[in-house]
């Protein structure tokens, strides 16, 4: 028994390192009260180490802690994604005026960031329903506090409170759904649930109700319509760094968990040789997700058109992107999954990039209004060009990475003959162009108002910008590596 635990622990190094990081960051803050830099470096080192340890797990496929979690290519992929985001966010935070203003509480900030990362790591690998709930709660609790981190700003507190209320409600619903599943199958690990569902006769209605309740939980995490109501307020109120983190990593973790839950429990065994999965007989839950996907992207895009605050606009745009990614889940195939993974890699760079620009501009102008971007392209050509590339990529135009993300989603959809969904997705990206271009219009087509001096940035800030900008362009022209990596990462551990 003891030996088994030790063996399992050896596959749990990344999580262990993150836990240690959380503790060290707290203690360090007590000792070096005024040294926010040190604490940020500690958390950076911790996350980097965890990320490095994850790379050691590439190619592994096994279950740990008696079916609580899996270390498989799928989990590794998402852990790498989350670790990368986390590193980038810590770097952002070092340059963020908002976070710097509260340097006395830096320990709180960075340790929670590490805890958030830990929660997301667990979400990516969880294979037991209880583990899923616990991981999600760890993530949620950390993000509630971080969303309200700038206590001085009223909308930050408001954001935090709204977040808690919605979060509590949806985790309650999800927990209820899980309890129904447990009642139906008598198992909490996904494999046991699946075995019971495939072999036995289950009440269709009960399963439907349970799935919808569980979708409420996932839908909240990935901000899918109609569980998205918290998103705009939280994204607007929270510090930009946290907004950026939530928009990428939290969404990724939510998707990872959702995909694993649906594909491991509500399908008939392993995928066929052509990579398509069969939904549980008589229960085509992917059609529910298809409706959700259409609602999510359409509402996200249509509402984004009316926004005047750029953070809020990006919040709705991130809702729309969740809708696009859901399309990849709907098709129930490895191609679809690979497309989602590819999309996430691309989304990481372009979305973080867009938020980073928002942060840099807010640092200088103190405003996130789209109107304050008038003439920004002339005040800082670098920011202007960067924003053009990030937004073009978010729209999905070549030669940027965003196009590749969209391309593979459409490829998966057309291959599975989901033509109508592909058409809806395509038309949605035309709508999205309109609001992205509105920002670009202010940046280049309008003249600056009031204080319109040139804006300059430090070399460090420029380097971070380039680190996000270059992949956004490069992956649009040469994307074979990310596609191959994603193709190899769709493999989820399952009991033979």
């Amino acid at each position: 028994m003891g030996r088994q635990v030790l063996e399992n622990l050896s596959n749990f190094w990344p999580e262990t390192v993150l836990t240690i990081t959380v503790c060290v960051a707290i203690v360090a803050n007590l000792i070096f009260r005024k040294n926010a830099k040190l604490i940020s470096y500690i958390s950076l080192a911790g996350v980097l180490t965890a990320g490095f340890l994850v790379t050691r797990q590439i190619g592994m496929s096994q279950s740990v802690f008696s079916g609580m979690a899996a270390v498989d290519p799928f989990a590794v992929f998402f852990k790498l994604l989350i670790a990368t985001t986390s590193v980038v966010i810590i770097l952002f935070s070092m340059y963020s005026a908002e976070v710097q203003a509260t340097f006395k509480r830096a320990g709180e900030y960075y340790s929670l960031l590490a805890a958030l990362t830990l929660g997301m790591f667990l979400m990516a690998g969880a294979t037991n329903l209880l583990m899923m709930v616990l991981a999600m709660e760890l993530t949620s609790l950390s993000s509630y506090i971080l969303a309200g981190y700038t206590k001085e700003a009223p909308d930050s507190s408001e954001a935090s409170l709204k977040y808690i209320i919605y979060g509590a409600l949806s985790s309650g619903l999800m927990l209820y759904g899980i309890s129904i599943i447990f009642g139906l199958t008598g198992a909490t690990d996904v494999y046991g649930v699946n075995r019971a569902l495939v072999s036995g006769q289950t009440s269709y209605i009960a399963l439907l109700v349970a799935s919808i309740l569980i979708i409420a939980g996932f839908g909240y995490k990935i901000s899918a319509v109609p569980f998205h109501f918290w998103t705009p307020d939280v994204y607007e109120g929270a510090p930009v760094t946290i907004t950026a983190f939530l928009s990428v990593a939290s969404k990724a973790a939510g998707f990872a968990m959702m995909i694993r839950f649906f594909f491991m429990t509500l399908t008939v065994g392993a995928p066929l040789s052509d990579g398509t999965w069969l939904a549980l007989q008589g229960f085509e839950w992917n059609k529910i997700l298809a409706i959700l996907s259409v609602l999510t992207m359409t509402l996200g895009n249509l509402v984004a058109v009316w926004q005047n605050n750029l953070k809020r606009l990006l919040a709705y745009s991130s809702i729309a992107h969740a809708g696009y990614m859901l399309m990849g889940v709907v098709v129930l195939s490895d191609k679809g999954l690979a497309a989602v993974l590819i999309y996430f890699v691309v989304y990481l760079f372009m979305n973080l990039g867009a938020f980073y620009v928002v942060m840099l501009v807010a640092n200088k102008t103190g405003s996130e209004d789209i109107d304050s971007y008038k003439g920004m392209g002339y005040r800082s050509p670098l920011i202007g060009v960067a924003m053009v590339i990030f937004f073009i990529s978010l729209t999905g135009l070549p030669p940027t990475a965003g196009f590749i993300g969209k391309l593979f989603l459409f490829v998966a959809l057309l291959d599975a003959k989901w033509i109508w969904l592909a058409v809806v997705g395509a038309i949605n990206s035309v709508v999205s162009l309109y609001y992205y271009v509105r920002v670009l219009r202010n940046m280049f087509l309008r003249d600056p108002e009031g204080d319109a001096g040139l804006i300059r940035f430090s070399p460090g800030q420029v380097i971070i910008l380039l680190v996000l900008l270059i992949p956004t362009l490069l992956f649009g022209i040469y994307y074979a590596p990310i596609v191959e990596f994603a193709n190899a990462s769709v493999l989820m551990f399952r009991i033979q």
Binding site: I392, L397, L414, D415, S429, R441, A480
Partner: protein, 536 residues
Amino acid sequence: MELHVLGVGVLTWLTFLPIIGMVAVLVLPKNNPAAVKWTAAVATFLQLVLAAILFVMFNKSMAGINDAASMQFVERFKWIDIQSQSWFGRIQIEYFMGIDGLSGPMVLLTALISFIAVFASWNIEKALKGYMAMLLLLDTGMMGVFVSLDFFLFYVFWEVMLLPMYFLIGVWGGPRREYAAIKFFLYTLLGSVLMLLAMIALYFSVAITDPATGEKIHTFNMLAMMNPANFEPGSLLYGFGTYWRYLAYIALFIGFAIKVPIFPFHTWLPDAHVEAPTAISVILAGVLLKMGTYGLLRVSYPMFPEIATATAWYLALLAFINIVYGALCAMAQKDFKKLIAYSSISHMGIVLLGMAALNTQGMLGAVFQMFNHGTITAMLFLIVGVIYDRAHTRDLDAFGGLALTMPKYTGIMTVAFFAALGLPGLSGFISEAFAFLGAFQVDKLRIITIASTLGIVLTAAYMLWTLQRVFLGQPNEKWAKLPDINPVETFTLVPLAVIVLVLGIYPSFMLDMMTTSLNHLVDFVSRGGAAVAMIP
């Protein structure tokens, strides 16, 4: 036929020279406008020289179209090669470029118009560096579209054009530039996402065998997509004249029709033209509109021959609407530039009519008309630009008797106007005559063709009426002191006028380049069209 310059293929040079120019422009200091202009001029001039060399070296007896062996100046490299999975075949995307008699004239046109556009932009002062950079990026996009033989590459270049065009209209345009720019952007993007879906459907339906490993690979190679034998049985677009094939054809058609523009997708055009600065109008009318018809001929026709044949009558009907409706709208305009914009719609209709005929004359007329419309309309927009720069108005009724104050200008203008209305001896006549001749031969299209000739009468009417209002009659005192055209303007107009004249007298310069390829295209499409007739 191959040609390398410094070890790099000539088509790559043609496509990416403007990008090199763009980088050079961007690193130049801001306070030296002359250097920026001349850098752009040199980049486009070198491009034009290369295009001219291609024209001279072009082998007129090679067909191309669906045959890789007879494509010329081919460059072919693996670009993206993704290992196959059990559930996902190998993905291969090539950097595949080449030209034939269909794309050759367009390459020449693009290089010519881009070069002239740089000089037509000589007066730009606002953010000149950005302007030239965008213009050169646009040039790369346009050239890339015409030389690409891989659908993926084609699509990338197709989309690369959108952004510079948006900024060129939006930043340097007229009073309603923001509206015009976003309208152009949204319309074109709508068309291209539909095209993207059709492209993916084609990709899935076509598989070729890798000669080395025997693996089946899905490919974006356009030539492979043209061969019916490559369509996998059971795939989405397998067979002839199926429901899915019609759907894919329509998606592609809308994508291209928005670019041409074909009625009822034309509403972005007058706005974009009126607001765009002169040089951008020249590029828009001279090259961008041709991409729509080029796409139809390069993609839709050979990949869906049976549908192209079956829907020829409808295309002719749309052509008729374009010709007559465009001409009527042009006649109603008071704005000089809007008039020319609508005349473009009318003239592009003639291209469509020639295409619908699906015979050699019609097709020759169509492609030749694409080239001629490019040169003639470019002249017309330059002419409008000249007068707008001086008088700051484009109201047709505000002028009169300009022939007295600006004799040189009037002389060149006359060439352009008469070429546009199809006067024999000028290039427009030849292509229009061929297009109508071709369409008239087809029994089904005869009535439409006869009705379409009405468009010629209308064109003559509004062109002559405009000429009368602006250049003849009582001179308006207000404009008595307008200077005649300056050397830069002359330099932009004269080469085009010479081309229009020469091709009017000796069209074989251009026609010889196209004949073999277009004959082959007609033959290929009609055989494909016949295949569907054999299906019981």
